[in-house]
């Protein structure tokens, strides 16, 4: 008797396993279990349902991603394409947002600017999350002297005003996309290792860790197989809420001329003091990069906040 026919959606169907020699049949209820989604799908659906601001943030972030990926296709001009006859053109059909002191199209440069912000943002957050996870789990799992040493180091690092230290380091290693990504990544990692450590500390005390140890699991298996998966939601929260900070920091360093060097367009660089004299002639040169930067920070902030509430409400209020 076939006992494994899939149950149809509506009617309940029961299958019976006939025992070999009479007696009461064991009845199995084969109605489909309530439909469950994977947690990462659930988060997005909850975001759309319950978090209108988070949804707006997600839309902005997606738009920015689109601008960054498709900049080559949708941008009307080249980002370094100068045209001295068209300097300081006002908003027009040819140049939607006008042009700058070298006749470069502002809209084009804003679109490419999204690319730099995202490169540096995602790159630095990626590097930073690896570092934060490594330091955090190491510090929490080993405890004792390792923890004490690492945490005093983190303490010392946190005593520096972030911008001051980053400016010094960037001045020493020189400006550049890779340099700023690496430097911001390390800084982000050290700063956020505290959060990961806190979560890993509480996970370490759970009985299933003790169980794993009793079953003979080694350090590598416990940290990678048992602690890491449970820290993962926190890592995602740290990453999404941190993106806006990293993008803002990149912009402030580029603003000071210590981030991504020209001619590559960055929002921070477009706002910078070097171009201040030109902004008096065409205020759009100051307004639009500031708007783009604010929108990006707003988008990542809102998305990050919403994801934090959905993934790990304990971290609220930071």
């Amino acid at each position: 008797m076939p006992s494994s026919t899939p149950a149809s959606g509506t009617g309940s169907r029961e299958a019976s396993l006939e025992p070999a020699a009479g007696g009461a049949a064991l009845r199995l209820d084969l109605r489909r279990l309530p439909h469950t989604r994977a947690w990462y799908m659930e988060v997005w659906i909850q975001l759309l349902r319950r978090k209108p601001l988070g949804t707006i943030g997600a839309v902005i972030v997606v738009a920015m991603l689109g601008a960054a990926v498709l900049a080559d296709v949708i941008a009307p001009y080249g980002f370094a394409q100068t045209s001295l006859r068209e300097r300081f053109v006002r908003m027009s059909a040819e140049h939607w947002l006008g042009t700058d002191q070298l006749g470069r199209d502002l809209l084009t440069r804003l679109l490419y600017g999204a690319r730099v912000s995202l490169y540096v943002g995602f790159g630095a957050v990626g590097v930073g999350c690896l570092i934060a996870t490594a330091i955090g789990i190491l510090s929490a799992y080993w405890g004792g002297r390792v923890d004490l040493l690492l945490q005093r180091g983190v303490d010392a690092w946190m005593a520096f005003p972030p911008l001051l230290l980053l400016m010094s380091i960037m001045s020493l290693v020189g400006p550049g996309v890779w340099n700023i990504t690496a430097v911001l990544g390390v800084a982000f990692g050290i700063q956020n290792s505290r959060v990961i450590r806190g979560v890993a500390l509480s996970i370490r005390e759970h009985t299933y860790i003790e169980g794993a140890r009793a079953a003979g699991a080694g350090h590598a298996r416990i940290t990678a197989g048992h602690i890491l998966p449970n820290v993962l939601p926190t890592i995602i929260v740290v990453a999404t809420t941190g993106l806006s900070t990293v993008i803002l920091t990149e912009a402030s360093l580029s603003f000071l001329g210590l981030g991504v060097p020209p001619p590559y367009p960055t929002w921070g660089g477009m706002l910078s003091l070097a171009g201040l004299d030109h902004m008096y002639q065409a205020p759009g040169l100051a307004i639009w990069p500031a708007v783009a930067l604010s929108l990006a920070v707003f988008g990542f902030n809102m998305l990050g906040d919403a994801l934090r509430d959905l993934l790990d409400p304990r971290l609220r209020g930071g």
């Binding site: 946190m158 001051l164 010094s168 020493l172 706002l271 008096y280 707003f298």
Partner: protein
């Protein structure tokens, strides 16, 4: 209490040591040799070797470190600027009041705005006033302060023929003129920093207002003003103060940009100028002094907590 103070002070010492190690290592371990850049960029010495000798880079690393720290601890000697040839410490002390005033005004403005809006938002939860407050806080969080500062410098001069005052007047010579200069940068910086304070004030006050002793206060027949300001606010202030304490490094870091835009002769400007002139002894010393100040400030805040709330001492 005495034991707690001793323990906290003892904990600050290794932190200070590590701070000095970070600063020291940064100047020597980073790719791109400091001396090469200083000679090529600004010709601070005739040859590379001469500058290395002058900076002490030709000696063993541990000797360099001990001499550097020894001079600071024993003689208070932070070295000299290569650009001005003046002692760094004197220059720092001369410029510090400007930065301190900017930071104090900024904190004052952000705290007043943040707390006031936060209280109104919490008292009138889910009313238009609350929504306006929350949207305002989100806006303040999103607009970068340097972008706002550039707009404040550029736009009014185009549309209203108004510019910020560019020549600095010290507070001691003419307080009124000084305030006129400082108020615009402090407002720009303070408004953008009020966002997080408002948000934490609102959520902390909402938490407190749901507690039993507040219900008791209501049932005693006290007025709303007394309940919120007298009973609620006191307990809701703790996370707010923690946040302000945590943010002091941000105020100092931000002052670099604000002082550069508004041309205020503070420590931030000193630091930024030194950086653009590759004057690395100044960069090194300012980093160290500021970080040491933050460590000291954190220590004071911790001690103040323990003084205010005896439970903390026994944790």
């Amino acid at each position: 209490m005495k034991q707690y103070v001793l323990r906290r002070v003892a904990l600050a010492v290794p932190t200070l040591f590590l701070v000095s190690v970070i600063v020291f290592a940064m100047m020597r371990l980073m790719p791109g040799d400091v001396a090469t850049r200083m000679v090529e960029g600004h010709a601070y010495a005739p040859t590379l070797e001469a500058l290395r000798k002058d900076l002490g880079l030709d000696r063993p690393v541990h000797v360099q470190y001990l001499e550097w720290v020894g001079a600071i601890v024993l003689k208070g000697d932070f070295g000299r600027s290569y650009w001005t040839r003046q002692p760094i410490w004197e220059e720092f002390v001369r410029r510090f009041p400007v930065t301190l005033e900017l930071a104090a005004l900024t904190i004052l403005i952000s705290v007043v705005i943040g707390i006031a809006v936060g209280i109104v938002s919490a008292m009138r939860q889910d009313t238009p006033a609350d929504y306006i407050g929350r949207v305002g806080a989100i806006l303040a969080l999103s607009v970068p302060y340097f972008g706002l500062a550039v707009l404040v410098v550029v736009l009014p001069s185009i549309y209203f023929r108004w510019t910020p005052v560019w020549t600095y007047v010290p507070l001691t010579t003419d307080p009124v003129a000084n305030l006129k200069i400082m108020i615009v940068p402090a407002l720009v910086f303070g408004v953008t920093r009020a966002g997080p304070i408002m948000r934490i004030m609102r959520s902390a006050l909402l938490d407190v207002l749901r507690q039993d002793y507040i219900r008791t206060a209501w049932s005693k027949g006290l007025g709303e003003r007394t309940i919120v300001l007298r009973h609620g606010l006191k307990n809701a202030m703790i996370p707010v103060i923690t946040l302000i304490g945590l943010q002091t490094p941000l105020y100092i870091g931000g002052s670099v940009i604000i002082e550069a835009i508004f041309r205020l002769p503070g420590v931030g400007h000193f630091f930024f100028e030194a950086l653009t002139r590759l004057d690395y002894p100044v960069v090194q010393s300012v980093n160290l002094i500021v970080a040491a100040m933050v460590v000291g400030l954190n220590l004071l805040v911790d001690l103040a907590y323990a003084f205010l709330d005896p439970r903390i001492r026994y944790r």
